[in-house]
Symmetry: C2
Subunit: 325 residues, 2 copies
DNA sequence: TTGAAAGCGGTACCAG
DNA sequence: CTGGTACCGCTTTCAA
C-alpha cells in the first residue's frame, strides 16, 4: 500500500480519484509516487463498494465461426477504453453449460451480458430474460422487448443487386441458403425488390458444393443464362465461380459474381477475388459493447431490433471496379 | 443476505462451504434455504479475502484466426469446471493495447494469464515476464524458462508422410509455407526424415494460389511427377487439388494429397474432402487452462516447451481410407 | 486540507 | 456447535 510510502491513509484515494478538494501539490506528490512504485488499486475491492465490477460477460455458441470472432473483437475493443473487461464464455449448444456460465458471471457481478450467436433467428440455449443485469443480443435472437443488434440483410442484398445493375448486368439470379434462415429469406426478398419479382432465387445450403450445383442446374436447363449472380455467402460464391470457370464462362467478363460476408480468407483467395457484402461485424460488436455499458450505467437504450448497414467491398469478380460509388 | 432468512450470521458461510463441524441438519436447513431463495455468494468479496479471483486472462493477437478460436474454446471448457472464468483480450499487434489489457487484468486480480498467438516462433507484442501472476503460452513464443504449449509439427508431418507411404505412394513432395516459419521448417525436416533426404520440398506462402503455382511448376518442369503430395496447410492443399483437377490428374486415384490444420470449413468442402493433420487445438487449449490453474494454485509445472501430438483425419483426398490404423 | 472510522460481502478464528 | 469479531482493500462521510 501506498500509505507507507506517502504520509496519509485515505487521502490517497481522494488524490488518485480526483475526488474531494485538497492541496494541488499533495495530490501531485501522491500521484507521482503512485506511478513510481506502480501502485494499482484492487479492482475487486473497488467493485465491492461500487457494485460495479467493470466486467461484462460474452456468451457465444459459435466456436469455430467467422461471425462471432469479429463481433467479439469489436466488443473487446470498444470496452477496453472504458476499463471494462470481457468474460468469454463458449457454451456450444449446451443449456447446462450455458447455465453454469451465466451463474458464474452473475457470481462475478458482471455489469451486463452480451449474447452472440451465428443466426439472427435462433436464440441461445439459455434463458437470459429476467436476469438482474442488462442483456444485449448481437446476431442472435433475444426475447420480446430486448435490445438486439444485427446486420441489415436487406440493405446488404440491395447494395449487391444494385451494384450488379449499375455495372450493366441485366439477367440476375440469386443463389443462397435454406429458406429456414431468416437472413436468406430477407436477402432474397430485397434481391427481388431490386431485380424484379421474376428474378430467379435458388435456395439450397450454405456450401460451395451447392453453389457449384446451382450453376450446373442453371446452365443445363436451357433458357437465358444469367450475366449477374448474387450469392448468399462467400462459400456459395466460390462454388459458383469455380463452376463457371469449369464451363468456360469467364468471370467477370461474361458473368459477374457477388458474395456475402466478406470472409477475407475465402473472398480474397478466390480466383478472381470476390466482390462481396461486408456486414461490419466488428462495428456491430462495438455498438453492442457500448450498449451494455450504457445500460449498466443506468442510461436507457431504446429496445428493439436495430439493423446496422452493410457495405460493399469491391474486388474483381464483378468487373466495374473503376466505377466505385 | 441469507442471514435474515436463516437464524445465524457466519454459520451460513461454514454451512455453505462445508467447513467447520456443525449439526448436519442445521447445515442442510441452511443449504436448502439458500437454494430456495437463490442465494449466491459474491465472488468479489470472496476474492478479496482469498486473493484468488477465479479468473484468468486470455491474451490473443489473432482476431480472425482459425488457430486461436479452438484453443480458446478448449481453455474456457477446461476452466469452467473449476469455477474459473476467462477474460478475453484481443490485442491485435498493438503493444499499447496489450499493456492496457494486461494492466486491466492485473487490476482485476487474475489468477494467471494465458497467451495465445498464431505462430509458435513469434511472441506477443507485450512483455509478460516478471508479472506477479503465472503465465502460460499456447501457440506463441514465451521467454526462456516459461511454460509453453504447442502442437508437435514433426509428429504431424511424420504422420502424414508415413500414411502416404503406407497407402503405397513412392514419389512424395512437400509443398509448404515460408522458411521463416519454424513450423514450416520442422514439418519439412520431418517429411524428409521419412520420405528420404532427396524428397523435394517447395517453400512458398501459405496460400491456395501458391499450392496452385507449385503444381504448375512441378508438372511443367518435366521429370517424374509425384504421386503423393503433403501440403503445409489446408489452403495450399486446396490449391493443389484444384490445380491437379485442371490438369486432368485424378485425386486420389493418380495423386494423393494431404493437408495440415484440419480446418473443417476448408478441408471438408474441398472436392474431394481433404485428408489432413489435426493439431488438437482444443485439447491444447484445455491443457493450457489446466496448467495456469495448477500454477495459480501453487502447484508446480515443469517449465519448457511441451509439444502435443497431432492426429490424422482421414477423408477422401488420399484414398486408402479403408486401411485405417 | 487531512485523517479516523464505518462499511461493502464475505471468511476465519476464537470465545461462548 | 454456534455467534461475535476482526479483517481483505478500497471509498466515503464526517470530524478535527
Amino acid at each position: 500500500m501506498a500509505r507507507i510510502a506517502g504520509v496519509s491513509v485515505s487521502t490517497v484515494s481522494k488524490a488518485l480519484n480526483g475526488n474531494g478538494r485538497m492541496a494541488a501539490d499533495t495530490r501531485e506528490r501522491i500521484k507521482s509516487l503512485a506511478a513510481e512504485i506502480g501502485f494499482r488499486p484492487n479492482a475487486l475491492a473497488r467493485g465491492l463498494l461500487s457494485n460495479r465490477s467493470f466486467t461484462v460477460g460474452l456468451l457465444t455458441n459459435d466456436t469455430y465461426g467467422r461471425f462471432t470472432l469479429p463481433v467479439m473483437a469489436g466488443i473487446s475493443e470498444a470496452l477496453v477504453d472504458h476499463g471494462v473487461s470481457v468474460f468469454l464464455c463458449a457454451i456450444e449448444d449446451d443449456p447446462e453449460l450455458g447455465k453454469v456460465h451465466v451463474d458464474a458471471m452473475l457470481d462475478k457481478q458482471v455489469d451486463g451480458i452480451i449474447a452472440t450467436g451465428k443466426r439472427v433467428d435462433r436464440s441461445l440455449p439459455v434463458d437470459l430474460a429476467g436476469l438482474p443485469v442488462p442483456v444485449v443480443y448481437a446476431f442472435t435472437e433475444g426475447e420480446a422487448g430486448s435490445v438486439t443488434l444485427t446486420a441489415d440483410d436487406r440493405h446488404g442484398a440491395r447494395l449487391a443487386t444494385e451494384w450488379l445493375q449499375r455495372i450493366g448486368r441485366k439477367r440476375l439470379v440469386h443463389i443462397t441458403g435454406p429458406r429456414e434462415f431468416a437472413s436468406a429469406v430477407e436477402r432474397a426478398e430485397a434481391f427481388r425488390e431490386v431485380a424484379g419479382s421474376a428474378a430467379p432465387v435458388l435456395h439450397g445450403v450454405w456450401s460451395e458444393a451447392w453453389g457449384h450445383a446451382a450453376v450446373d442446374r442453371l446452365w443445363n436447363e436451357g433458357g437465358g443464362k444469367p450475366d449477374g449472380i448474387f450469392c448468399g455467402n462467400d462459400q456459395i460464391a466460390r462454388g459458383v465461380v469455380d463452376a463457371l470457370r469449369e464451363r468456360g464462362a469467364k468471370v467477370p467478363e461474361d458473368v459477374s459474381v457477388i458474395g456475402f460476408d466478406n470472409w477475407e480468407i475465402m473472398a480474397a483467395q478466390t480466383r478472381p477475388p470476390l466482390t462481396t457484402v461486408d456486414m461490419n461485424l466488428k462495428e456491430l460488436g462495438r455498438e453492442a459493447g457500448l450498449m451494455v455499458l450504457a445500460l449498466a450505467e443506468g442510461r436507457t437504450v431504446e429496445p428493439g431490433l436495430r439493423k446496422l448497414p452493410c457495405k460493399l467491398v469491391i474486388r474483381e469478380s464483378c468487373g466495374g471496379g473503376d466505377r466505385r460509388d
